[in-house]
Point group: C2
Chain length 421, copies 2
């Protein structure tokens, strides 16, 4: 590691005092010593006027590196106040996929003006047509092409002339003149080949690819299953239009897991963090709490219509909350397992029936064990075997239903084309 460290108190102190003393030389020295990923974290933590000072003094490629590393929302915030010609230069230098995300987040008028000011918009424009959550929305257009008749030696010359900066550095993609994907060559194979060998003899022609319109989660599953470092993306004419790199797929898997976890905990805003603003917190958390409260109150109202019974069955009403809680717990166990299996691509439609039968059996066992314990316990304790029997049966029934609903609900959502989590 370098001289400075983003997490080192000394570094942070020096940075703070340098800003105070307007010693921007030292500020830049600290920044330039850090990895862009750390620069981005540090940049985001600065005050707005400090960010402005930096943006004025850094080189365009340096700013582009930081923008590539910031999260999409953070990039937008930093980009918003920049003059459009300056912003256009930065976007020209960004990774095409990040550039497309940023352009897609700008307001309609700014998009058009920024694109007209850009010099290399042809790398970014094809990406704008794909939705954020598709394979096309995750791919980059910054990769290297070979023809099947090229020699290994000429491929190496081409690599040397293309220089070091490519999003997909360790693979070359082989296409014919219709841009059909014929194969892939790794740099390792290229180096080990005889200089005169023809690419079509070296390349791996059995290539896994995805369609640009496919869900990014499917692309992630394919890359994980085959341990791929780069996944080619084809359009509907089966032409090679982009490549997804391994770090994008990490982001997809992490984002999707966060979504799963938040959805299971009834947090509806998947970008919410513990330190997010109050308004965002309420917006992401209140709706489901309200819905749940209202449902519970309606339930109470229905029962209250039974008048006298409401007080008579006070004891039952009390124990009923135990029954309801266990049903809820059992259902959430089921939902968690199914949602996770779906996310990891482990369930296919043919397995629904066996899984359902397995879970009905599990629900019966869970209900029997819990039902017997509560039923016998409460029956003796309240000296009321009838109460025990009712509670035991209620628990058995409730957990059986919970198992069925908790299993079927996410499966039905998934296979009717919705995203259960």
């Amino acid at each position: 590691m370098g001289k400075y460290d983003r997490n080192d108190p000394e570094t942070l102190k020096l940075l703070g005092s340098s800003f105070e003393n307007q010693d921007y030389q030292t500020v830049l020295e600290i920044f330039r010593d850090l990895h862009p990923a750390d620069q981005a974290k540090m940049f985001y933590a600065l005050k707005t006027d400090q960010q402005e000072v930096l943006l004025e003094r850094m080189e365009i490629p340096e700013i582009a590196d930081i923008f590539d590393e910031l999260e999409d929302k953070q990039t937008l915030t930093a980009a918003r106040n920049l003059p459009l010609p300056f912003l256009a230069d930065i976007i020209d230098d960004m990774d095409p996929d990040e550039a497309a995300d940023l352009l897609g987040d700008l307001s309609g008028q700014d998009v058009r003006r920024t694109i007209s000011l850009m010099e290399e918009s042809e790398e970014v424009l094809p990406l704008l047509r794909y939705a954020d959550e598709t394979a096309g929305g995750r791919m980059t257009t910054d990769f290297l092409l070979l023809g099947p008749g090229d020699s290994a030696d000429s491929a190496i010359q081409y690599l040397r002339s293309a220089g070091l900066e490519t999003d997909i550095p360790y693979y070359l993609f082989v296409v014919n003149k219709e841009k059909d994907l014929l194969g892939v060559v790794g740099l390792r194979e290229l180096i080990c080949a005889d200089p005169g060998q023809i690419i079509s003899d070296i390349m791996e022609s059995n290539v896994v690819s995805v369609q640009a319109m496919q869900d990014q989660e499917e692309a992630a599953q394919v890359m994980k299953h085959y341990d791929l470092q780069a996944l080619p993306v084809l359009n509907n004419l089966d032409q090679l239009v982009g490549v997804i790199s391994h770090d994008d797929i990490l982001d997809v898997l992490v984002d999707e897991s966060t979504e799963d976890i938040y959805r299971l905990a009834s947090v509806s805003d998947y970008a919410l963090e513990p330190e997010s603003g109050l308004f965002l917190q309420l917006k992401g958390r209140l709706p489901w709490l309200l819905l749940n409260t209202i449902t519970a109150l309606i339930g109470a109202w229905v029962i209250s219509n039974f008048g006298d019974l409401f007080v008579q069955v006070a004891v039952l009403a009390f124990f009923q909350s135990v029954v309801a809680a266990q049903g809820g717990n059992a259902a959430s166990q089921n939902v968690a397992m199914i949602v996770r299996s779906l996310a990891l691509g482990k369930v296919n439609p043919k397995q629904i029936i066996p899984i359902l039968f397995r879970q009905i059996l599990v629900g019966m066992f869970l209900g029997t064990v819990i039902g017997l314990i509560v039923g016998i316990g409460v029956g003796f304790w309240q000296a009321n075997p009838y109460l025990g029997l009712v509670l035991g049966l209620a628990l058995l029934g409730n957990m059986l239903v919970a198992s069925i609903v908790g299993t079927l609900a996410p499966l039905i959502l998934e296979f009717t084309g919705q995203d259960p989590a």
Copy 2:
């Protein structure tokens, strides 16, 4: 893709009939056409006697490829019935990290005999000393070394002589004779360098690394943060002992997310799947349900000691279940956010206080909104403003406490060295 497809019914039908007709030539043809990841999925789905037929007829390197792709438990099941000399040959051909995992899962006596029968145990033995969940447990020893004084040309000659099969194919690691890590060279940089250039002039010397004893989750966070394809692992003398590759880190992130989700849903066995056996299901799900039931019953018993009050406050008891449910919901929202932020390395100890204050504020707002709605609603409906007031305040208090507990509990577990999820 090849001629056959693991998910194609035609392929599966042909496979089934070939097994029936003992046409093992066709069985092998189908298998050899598939990617090892698909071979593994298909192998796992076979009956035991069909697996045996395959293991008898496949080449050792083919079996090793399949074993590399199977999940650890599946590999152990397949390996258990093999004669040890045969198994030793397979393990010799496996990736060192997978080989170490398999050896670690064998019984003590078998480990010693297998190792003594192996020819290349020196690649695997150093890995056996690291626990499964550490960086050392995830790393491979199959990577390539250079000296700082080597020329680019001699490095390329070395690559050609080393052949194509290395776990870490696109990076070369530069060490001195004490095995201290001096730098990393990517194949791209090597190809673009002048043949006579010295490695120490080409290499990136600012290298991120982890310690072998560090948690695999920390290694995963580092690789994700810096978008690394390979992460060097050092021992406590800071010597290079291994490298973690990008696909291992995918597995870590996915496993840890599954753990998070299961823990939040009170499923205690993180390997449980919807189709797991009945006994495993009960073992992974009953304990927490039982604990929760017993807690609820103790609560009921405490309240029942108040005798008459138990019936008198029947209405309150009923509405109280609404209060309890909302507190539980709010707490689980908090736990989910904190657990996820911790898993992604977004929280450091300094942030605990501001996060807690933010969440106390959020809890007050949530409690006020829900409390007002329920309090006013029930107050008017039951024509009992006192009941409304009590319920409203109970909700406010409950959600405030829920927010504090739901925020602090996972944070305290984390920073006292335990793993909250």
